[in-house]
């Protein structure tokens, strides 16, 4: 359930936008251009500095941070922060280093996050693709009406359904389970259906007709033809869904109570609330923050081009 401050409504453009060649500028010095570049460099610095600062702090000794608050490099470099995050330090060691001394094990939360995000992504993308195929290619009564009804769902803010959905998950006895966190977004989002339908509509009918002539069933056409031909948009959608579910906090916070179902975002909040109020374990906290952020950063590095180019407008001229 996406309560992320920017809903995905207009995230993906299935049809690639018309790309205009970058204007050829004369290479002479131009003060306006220099100023613009200076501004962009500032933007780049501000975007990336917090990530460096997480790393720098996580690799510092917590007790040395006060004296070394001016240092741009790790102060008294140490892996202690990471050791506390993965529960490799004894309670006493952790307390001496400024930590809370409570046992935490981020492997567990990492595992929970992977399970929840995978369940949501696989379910949502597959079921949405099935529905999108029915809306794009199958002939049935009231097709457009049902589709319009689905689209109306785009207008319901995720946040509004959270409380009643929590009541429902509780009635189903799924509170504090990974399935309970995943369930509400495992079947579809109106956006996913809309996005995939757009793409399926663009696939040439002739190939499909030919397969049908050869006696293939429509089910077979979907699995053997439509899905393989749509690998690119399906991958894009899957990556974006994975990132959104990985970063979800509010819904997961409602549903999980114990380590059994705590995902990384929630665990990070708990870890923060356990740290001593006076003199928090900043190197431990930043190590945990980095561990929580790293999988998505790696995913981004692998698929940067695809993700960057996927942001646009679908269906608008």
């Amino acid at each position: 359930m996406t309560t992320d401050t920017t809903p995905q409504v207009a995230t993906i453009a299935p049809t690639t936008t018309v790309r205009h060649a970058a204007p050829k500028e004369p290479r002479s010095f131009n003060p306006g251009r220099a100023l613009a570049w200076a501004f962009m460099i500032l933007v780049i610095l501000v975007s990336l500095f917090p990530f460096y600062w997480m790393l720098r702090t996580a690799l510092s000794s917590n007790n040395a941070l006060y004296a070394g608050s001016h240092s741009l490099l790790p102060v008294q470099a140490s892996a202690g922060g990471f050791e506390r995050v993965f529960g490799l330090q004894t309670g006493q060691e952790a307390i001496d280093a400024g930590g809370a001394g409570q046992a935490i094990n981020f492997w567990r939360y990492l595992f929970n996050s992977v399970v929840v995000s995978t369940l949501i992504t696989v379910g949502q993308v597959f079921f949405s693709a099935m529905a999108a195929y029915a809306f794009a290619r199958l002939q049935w009564k009231h097709r457009e009406k049902v589709f319009a009804f689905f689209l109306a769902g785009l207008m319901i803010p995720a946040i509004f359904t959270l409380l009643p959905n929590f009541v429902l998950i509780k009635q189903l006895g799924l509170v504090d389970t990974l399935l309970g966190i995943a369930l509400p977004t495992m079947f579809m989002t109106p956006f996913a259906v809309f996005f995939l339908r757009q793409f399926f509509l663009g696939i040439s009918r002739e190939v499909e007709e030919a397969a049908l002539m050869d006696g293939a069933s429509k089910v077979r056409v979907f699995f053997r033809l439509i899905l393989p031909m749509s690998v690119a948009p399906i991958t894009t959608l899957a990556i974006l869904t994975y990132i959104a579910s990985w970063n979800e906090y509010f819904w997961a916070l409602m549903v999980s109570y114990t380590d059994k179902s705590r995902v990384l975002t929630v665990a990070l909040g708990v870890f923060k609330s356990q740290t001593p109020q006076t003199g928090p374990d900043w190197s431990g906290l930043m190590a945990a923050t980095l561990v929580a952020a790293l999988p998505m950063l790696v995913l981004f590095m692998l698929f940067a081009k695809r993700i960057v180019n996927s942001i646009g407008f679908s269906g608008i001229k």
């Binding site: 409504v9 589709f147 906090y249 509010f250 409602m254």
Partner: protein, 307 residues
């Protein structure tokens, strides 16, 4: 959302070029999982949320209908009004700053260089969760040890209690969320800019227009429909601010960062008053519907100057 209309028309035009086959049974099978998900986790909770707002409900005993009690209580609840005020203040700061910055960044990405790496870097903060963003800025903006305040002190300025003073807390939270979302917003606007034909700029250049002049007379007017759509999306998102507050301030100091969504959570899960929490959710929903509608009308989002 406006996104739907052109494609729907497109679809009906494409209908059945080679004889009509009826796939009703297969179609039903194919949409069944999505339909179940849609009905159970979107439609039903929406109706139920509205129903619960007219009840007294503590989660343990069945909801008891109590008419307009929750709404009457809401109108008389100073914390609710304060939360609404704080949220509005946050949205204005957050959206104002974010939109202006994103527009500038987008135009620069369009006019300076269209390299993917640059867009990738600008988007990086969006890849981490709000929780991660809140954590790292809590540290950077720490009063004694944070590098932000160390720099301020080094410049001979006063240290700022960013997240622990009632004056600074909302602007700070707004800035943290601008950091995370501005790249995403800039990329949306950038995608909109791609739709403006390059020839318009070339014509402007031949006429001797400066970059600033072209920005004012070409970019802004032609970008208006996209810009208003971006605004609708980001404003609706901005109203739902929760994560940053929950991690960084828990509504404090006192109530100065108690945004509506955090208050709703607090009433529901701190005091188990689900009925009252639902009533406030309905109020938030109503505010969002009205704002979306007004924005749509004011910015004439439906008509493009490009056509």
């Amino acid at each position: 959302m406006a996104t739907a209309t052109p494609t729907q028309q497109q679809a009906s035009r494409r209908k059945a070029p080679t004889g009509y086959r009826d796939d009703t049974r297969l179609a039903l099978l194919f949409i069944l999982p999505a339909l179940i998900g849609f009905a159970v986790f979107m439609i039903w909770p929406t109706l139920r949320g509205i129903y619960l707002s007219f009840t007294k409900f503590n989660l343990l005993t069945p909801p008891k209908f109590n008419g307009l009690d929750n709404y009457i209580r809401m109108v008389q609840d100073p914390v609710f009004w304060n939360a609404l005020k704080v949220t509005l203040y946050y949205v204005v700061l957050n959206i104002g700053l974010q939109t202006v910055l994103a527009l500038v960044i987008a135009v620069m990405m369009q006019r300076l260089t269209q390299k993917t790496w640059l867009r990738g870097i600008v988007l990086t903060p969006y890849l981490v969760s709000n929780v991660v963003a809140a954590m790292v800025f809590l540290w950077i903006l720490d009063y004694q040890l944070g590098i932000g305040n160390t720099i301020l002190a080094g410049l001979g300025l006063d240290r700022l209690p960013f997240l622990s003073s009632d004056t600074w807390v909302i602007p700070t939270i707004a800035l943290i969320n601008v950091w995370r979302h501005v790249g995403y917003t800039a990329l949306l606007i950038f995608a909109g800019l791609q739709l403006i034909p390059e020839t318009v700029y070339e014509a402007g250049k031949i006429d001797g227009a400066s970059e600033v002049r072209m920005f004012r007379s070409i970019t802004i007017p032609l970008l208006r429909p996209i810009l208003s759509l971006v605004l609708i999306i980001t404003v609706v998102g901005s109203f739902q601010v929760f994560d940053t507050v929950a991690i960084a301030t828990r509504g404090g100091p006192v109530d100065s960062s108690r945004v509506l969504q955090f208050y709703i959570y607090d009433v529901a899960f701190g005091r188990f008053q689900f009925g009252y929490a639902s009533a406030m959710s309905v109020a938030l929903l109503a505010v969002l519907v009205v704002i979306t509608f007004v924005q749509y009308r004011l910015t004439r989002a439906e008509s493009s100057d490009l056509a």
